[in-house]
């Protein structure tokens, strides 16, 4: 602490740090600790049995599994979208660029109803998939689609500025050294994009895990099959089982935190060259 006070050329460490702590406490820490406190009212045995009920366990698998799948899909196609938006000038590019942000702005319930309508057995897309035996609405596949929809802007918006700042010379250097386009992408460009792709992946994943509004309309919410954890929490609340709800919420909190931590570590490792 001493060196920060004496040798820092940027003044205002004290007040800004104080404000940061206060703000984080009010907005994040206090509500979350209230969650844990409420859960602490349960005995250890009750806690374990609540959070390991088969129906709850199934919901963890669906929520985290679908969120991982959706974030993975977004990591691939989000990079593609960002690449096209940065690299190729085409008519209507600005419009497409603006479209990317729509999932941010759209109320999630609207998104959910729209997706459910389009992908249901007689919807625009659903009726073409149905004859092939692919059911989207009211299945886990529908959950993945809803999570992909809301997570897309996270990957695009984190990767886009990094692609914009890639130096054209490194691609030219790779070409001079005999690398073809694929080798250039895999060995030179992709490693430089990895940290931002991981950040986008983490954000899309976190959003997917926490998503409620758009999913419940398309998921069908069948216990053990397509019921997500946030819905279990809501159900428990509606039954005035506050402690049970917070117990499940705590598990989600810890699991999400651990996964984000791992992704952050991965991201740090992927930029180990930055000296």
């Amino acid at each position: 602490m001493k060196f920060i006070k004496h040798n820092n050329v940027l003044p205002g460490f004290g007040p800004t740090m104080g404000y940061t702590l206060l703000y984080l406490s009010l907005i994040v820490l206090i509500p979350l600790s209230a969650l844990v406190f409420k859960t602490a009212g349960l005995s250890w045995h009750d806690f374990i049995s609540t959070v390991t009920e088969p129906r709850v366990l199934a919901s963890y698998r669906i929520t985290f599994g679908a969120a991982l799948a959706a974030a993975g899909i977004n990591a691939v196609f989000g990079v593609l979208v960002a690449w096209v938006l940065v690299r190729y000038p085409f008519p209507g590019r600005r419009l497409v660029d603006a479209l990317v942000d729509l999932p941010f702005a759209l109320p999630t319930a609207v998104a959910g109803i729209t997706l459910a309508t389009v992908y249901s057995a007689n919807g625009w897309i659903g009726k073409h998939l149905e004859p092939h035996g692919i059911k989207v609405a009211f299945t886990p596949l529908g959950i993945i689609i809803a999570m992909t929809f809301i997570g897309l802007p996270f990957v695009v918006r984190t990767v886009q500025p990094v692609i914009e700042e890639l130096d054209a010379e490194i691609e030219e250097a790779a070409a001079c050294l005999g690398a073809n386009r694929w080798q250039t992408f895999r060995r030179v460009l992709f490693p430089l994009l990895t940290p931002s792709v991981l950040t986008g992946f983490a954000l899309a994943f976190a959003r997917g895990v926490g998503e409620y509004g758009s999913i419940i309309f398309i998921a069908g919410n069948m216990p053990m099959v397509s019921e997500i954890t946030p819905l279990i929490i809501i159900t428990k609340l509606e039954q005035y089982d506050y402690q049970g709800a917070t117990a499940v919420a705590t598990v989600m909190l810890v699991a999400s935190f651990l996964m984000l931590l791992v992704i952050n570590l991965l991201q740090r490792w992927s930029r180990r060259y930055a000296g």
């Binding site: 250097a173 005999g178 060259y273």
Partner: protein
């Protein structure tokens, strides 16, 4: 390997970057493309590399037309001004890159690659740096790694785009001596772009002076310095003083200076310009001969080993600059405001309506 550049033309929108440039670069030479910014020198280098396609004209490597060959297949080593190292790779991986991306049939074995990379790192005197990342190196070290990386693929031609442009003066001077030495060892045909006349004069076997998309003069450093083909070359290589006047029967007359210019005997009463390099002006305290002109010292600027003296000529009121060595300056003991005499040692006259 020799390079023939035939009638290369390149247009960027309304801007003509290169206008029918023809140049031949003999095998094994170190050639400097020298010119101000916008003269087309970098564009020409990039066209030789295949990073840019010409609108017209041909590039011939060793008698073989390579105009339409992709940069990947040209076997050129290219060194960028800002290094363009792969920052996520170690120094070793950077240098090994060109070998690692070869198709599996022609790729050397892992141990052969290691051996080759270490040999190159020794060549650029950075063998201890193999495990570092580019961000941990200084500018001069990064540029040497970039050079090692370019040499790893055993290029037939080495192309360098302002290779020392981003470095500070001392490292720059050191690196260009080193580049000259390296070239004497490996003899790969090399072309480098620079806007620094000193760098070109010191390093190159041959200098190509470029201006506005064309070549003004090509020749050895002595040729372009001692016998500049036109006022542009003269002006670009060193500081010069201009005297405007007229030609009369093979003699240029300009405000007290008379110079024989037999080459222009036909041009009578034509406007002429005489150029005198600032270090070709001698300052005396007394009038030694009739060519000496009276002048007043207006300003004295000491630049390390040399001293620049700004003088006001009596009569026509023009200003000239003279560069003296510190020794001569001290022997003369010149002071600001003094009246002295100046004598141009070497005058070059050009009769053409040329404005710089």
């Amino acid at each position: 390997m020799s390079i023939e550049i035939e009638n290369i033309h390149k247009q960027f929108g309304d801007f003509t970057a290169l206008q029918d440039v023809t140049l031949s670069i003999p095998s094994g030479e170190l050639v400097a493309l020298l010119g101000p910014s916008g003269s087309g020198k970098t564009t020409l280098l990039r066209i030789i590399a295949g990073l840019e396609t010409p609108d017209r004209g041909r590039i011939i490597f060793n008698g073989e037309d390579t105009t339409d060959r992709h940069v990947r297949e040209r076997k050129v080593g290219f060194v960028f001004q800002h290094y363009a190292l792969f920052k996520h790779m170690t120094v070793f991986d950077n240098v090994a890159f060109g070998l690692n991306v070869r198709p599996s049939g022609t790729r050397p074995s892992k141990s052969a690659i290691t051996e080759k990379v270490m040999e190159l790192l020794r060549l650029v005197q950075l063998e201890g740096m193999a495990k570092r990342y580019p961000s941990q190196l200084s500018g001069g070290q990064r540029q040497r790694i970039a050079l090692a990386r370019a040499l790893a693929v055993e290029p037939q031609v080495l192309l360098l785009d302002e290779p020392f442009g981003a470095l500070d003066a001392q490292v720059r001077a050191e690196l260009r001596r080193w580049l000259r030495k390296l070239h004497d060892e490996i003899h790969v045909t090399s072309v480098f772009v620079t806007h620094d006349q000193e760098e070109a004069l010191e390093v190159a076997d041959r200098i190509v002076v470029m201006n506005r998309g064309g070549i003004e003069q090509a020749g050895t450093p002595d040729q372009v310095y001692e016998h500049p083909a036109n006022p542009f070359v003269l002006n670009f290589l060193g500081n010069v003083n201009l005297f405007h006047g007229r030609m009369f029967q093979g003699e240029a007359q300009m405000g007290g200076i008379r110079v024989d210019a037999p080459g222009y005997a036909g041009a009578d009463n034509a406007p002429a310009v005489a150029y005198v390099r600032s270090h070709d002006i001698e300052i005396d305290r007394s009038q030694v001969d009739a060519t000496a002109l009276k002048a007043e010292i207006r300003h004295i600027q000491k630049l390390g080993p040399s001293v620049r003296v700004t003088l006001n000529l009596e009569g026509n009121g023009g200003f000239i600059e003279a560069e003296l060595t510190r020794d001569i300056f001290q022997t003369l003991g010149l002071q600001q405001g003094e009246q002295v005499f100046v004598r141009p040692r070497q005058v070059r006259v050009f009769v053409e309506d040329y404005q710089i």
